[in-house]
């Protein structure tokens, strides 16, 4: 029996809608796990406003139509006080209306994404293009070269990200040799690889996603791109994605995220959450930045801070408090919402793959601005 100060009051209901089944279930399950962990922790510390938290998890199944039905369950049946979830942008687009507009509920989106989501009551706690490019691209130019190729999957995130990345590349004296888009499930990249090799590209700034990315990197490797000193860069690459290729095929790949597992060595708080997570969920689903796990953690903690400040859970008050909420400790360091922007400032790290693990090679000075809305 938990020592509730205010046990008579009903629990606060937290809704999680994420991909528990389908192609990105590994990410969704990790997010759900993180939510369980955080809720457990808050409840163990006496709950929120003296009330316990109750977790409602629904599957979005990587299928927007299933997702909308299940999210309605959260809103209309369970009447949750807040929904956190969605991994892909299209999923966010599908469920934001039922949550925010029709459901009059607060929505937190935890994944790194292309930005430009400025809907009221919708808060984003993952990195934006600015956060992932501003420090990373200059580093790439210095540690790779000036000639960039932007091979990309054909959907909104790469398109938007590339617009921003190109600006930064050109501002720093680099050059985009080609920018090309592929169907999401393309698995043969011989034409692309040929173009990269024959144009003597220095940096492949990749936004091709699985399943294409594995064969793509392999073909690049076999064509001698790495051997000739080329540099791979990919801003969603975390610990999960490392396993797609043999270590040699992605040696030296650089990524820029808000958290890498190696940080546990230098950062006690990261070590603490990482250990707590692994204790509760020893399975396959890693606590990793690319799959929104860190965004989920940060989002829940920021929301907790906001509820504490507001002293109640109705949408208006919490949104008002969340607008400027801060946490002193989170994955990768502190985080704070940028007032009026509904996006989150956080620390960013640049890491390079070495023999199947990451090494941190760069860190931002303080918190990086999301530059959104």
């Amino acid at each position: 029996p938990a020592p509730w100060a205010n046990a008579a009051e009903a629990p606060i209901k937290v809704g999680i809608a994420t991909d528990l089944t389908g192609p990105i279930a590994y990410a969704g399950n990790a997010d759900a796990n993180v939510a369980k962990m955080v809720i457990k922790e808050i409840n163990a510390g006496g709950g929120l406003l003296g009330r316990p938290l109750e977790l409602y998890i629904e599957d979005t199944a990587s299928n927007e139509s299933v997702a909308v039905g299940n999210v309605r369950k959260l809103i209309q049946r369970d009447k949750v006080d807040m929904v956190l979830g969605g991994i892909t942008s299209s999923m966010r687009n599908a469920i934001k209306d039922p949550i925010v507009a029709r459901g009059k509920t607060l929505y937190i989106y935890p994944q790194l994404y292309e930005g430009k989501e400025c809907t009221p009551y919708l808060f984003c706690t993952g990195p934006t293009p600015a956060q992932q490019c501003d420090e990373f691209i200059p580093w790439l130019i210095k540690n790779g070269g000036k000639k960039f190729a932007l091979p990309s999957a054909n959907y909104v995130w790469p398109h938007t990200l590339n617009v921003y990345a190109r600006k930064v590349i050109e501002a720093n004296g680099g050059e985009v040799v080609f920018e090309e888009y592929y169907p999401l499930d393309q698995v043969d990249f011989s034409a692309t690889v040929n173009r990269i090799i024959s144009n003597k590209v220095d940096v492949v700034f990749n936004t091709v996603i699985p399943p294409g990315v594995g064969p793509f990197f392999k073909q690049l490797y076999e064509a001698g791109f790495l051997k000739n000193g080329g540099r791979l860069a990919c801003v969603y690459y975390d610990e999960n994605t490392l396993n797609i290729n043999q270590a040699a095929e992605i040696e030296g790949l650089a990524s820029c995220l808000d958290y890498f597992k190696v940080l546990t060595k230098e950062n006690p708080f990261d070590a603490k959450i990482q250990a707590a997570y692994e204790k509760d969920f020893p399975g396959n689903f890693l606590f990793a930045a690319g799959s929104a796990a860190t965004g989920t953690y940060r989002g829940l903690k920021l929301w907790e801070a906001a509820v504490k400040e507001a002293g109640k859970v109705d949408r208006e008050s919490v949104a008002a408090a969340l607008d400027h909420a801060k946490i002193a400790e989170g994955p990768g360091g502190p985080a704070e919402m940028v007032p009026g922007k509904r996006h989150c400032k956080m620390k960013m790290y640049t890491a390079v793959a070495k023999g199947g693990n990451y090494e941190i090679v760069g860190r931002s000075n303080g918190l990086v601005d999301p530059k959104e809305c």
Partner: protein, 285 residues
């Protein structure tokens, strides 16, 4: 020149991969008349078995050798339990095998945690000819594909087994009246088609890495290849797969990949529209 050579090799190698995948699909779809939606999952299983061998520390080639046998055996069992009921109703078969595929796929997804997992190739690295690098494993795949193709052709056209198989699939009741044990032949054919899928999965997993939707990725392409090649024979689908495979690898060299992708399908459909019997019309094996 060198560039053209590399291009030709890459295009050919992808063509070979598609042919490899379609071999089994073709036998089952074209000869048995079952559009097997679980075929992609047989490919997946072949890949998974190879991965298991690797994960358990066995040599990878051992997994690759085991894959066709295990998947073939599974195919034999599934035929006896499930597929057998579908011969009279090809459309119901599509749905039944779809469900079967769903079950296998989701189970494998559970087993591998929904991740993308790498499996190294038994013959790694690249063959270097001057400044050109050619993937050794892709080269191996081309060679194996050619061998398997020739083997299948000889088996079907030159042996009594092949004759029995073709007779059974063509007119089962007459085949029985000619003394052929049709249930056995059906089982064997399906198992053979599955085994080829298993082999395909085993060989391609180092190229594409293991993930639950690995087989599904090629399914539609495979069916289109069967149609382009012509239903009813063994070589039809193989020819179709060669065309579809090389086309999908070649078009991105000359146009935007996104356009190329759709164009391949549109070209295929238009082709079938005006030549419904396919590339190779109901002749031979």
């Amino acid at each position: 020149m060198a560039n053209a050579f590399v291009a030709a090799f890459e295009i050919l190698s992808f063509g070979a991969i598609i042919v490899l995948i379609v071999l089994g699909l073709g036998i089952i779809a074209s000869m048995m008349g079952i559009f097997n939606f679980a075929q992609g999952e047989f490919v997946l299983l072949g890949a998974y078995i190879t991965y298991l061998a690797y994960a358990k520390g066995l040599p990878i080639w051992a997994g690759m050798v085991a894959a066709p046998f295990v998947v073939g055996a599974l195919g034999f069992v599934l035929e006896a339990l499930i597929i057998r009921r579908f011969y009279a109703a090809p459309i119901v078969a599509m749905l039944g095998t779809y469900a079967l595929g769903l079950i296998i796929r989701e189970s494998v997804r559970g087993l591998i945690g929904g991740f993308y997992l790498t499996v190294p190739e038994p013959i790694g690295g690249s063959i270097d000819i001057g400044a050109m690098h050619i993937s050794a494993w892709r080269f191996t795949i081309i060679v194996i594909t050619l061998l398997v193709m020739a083997g299948c052709y000889l088996l079907l056209s030159r042996t009594n087994f092949g004759l029995r198989m073709r007779a059974t699939l063509e007119n089962p009741s007459l085949a029985r009246a000619s003394g052929i044990s049709t249930p056995l032949m059906y089982g064997a054919t399906f198992a053979f088609g599955s085994a080829l899928a298993g082999l395909a999965g085993a060989l391609i997993v180092p190229v594409f890495s293991l993930y639950a939707d690995l087989g599904l990725r090629f399914l539609i392409q495979g069916f289109v290849a069967v149609m382009v090649g012509g239903v009813g024979s063994f070589i039809g689908p193989v020819a179709g797969a060669g065309v579809i495979g090389t086309l999908s690898a070649a078009l991105p060299w000359v146009m935007a990949p996104v356009v190329a992708d759709v164009l391949v399908f549109v070209l295929a459909i238009v082709f079938i529209k005006f030549r419904p019997q396919g590339l190779i019309a109901g002749k031979g094996v």
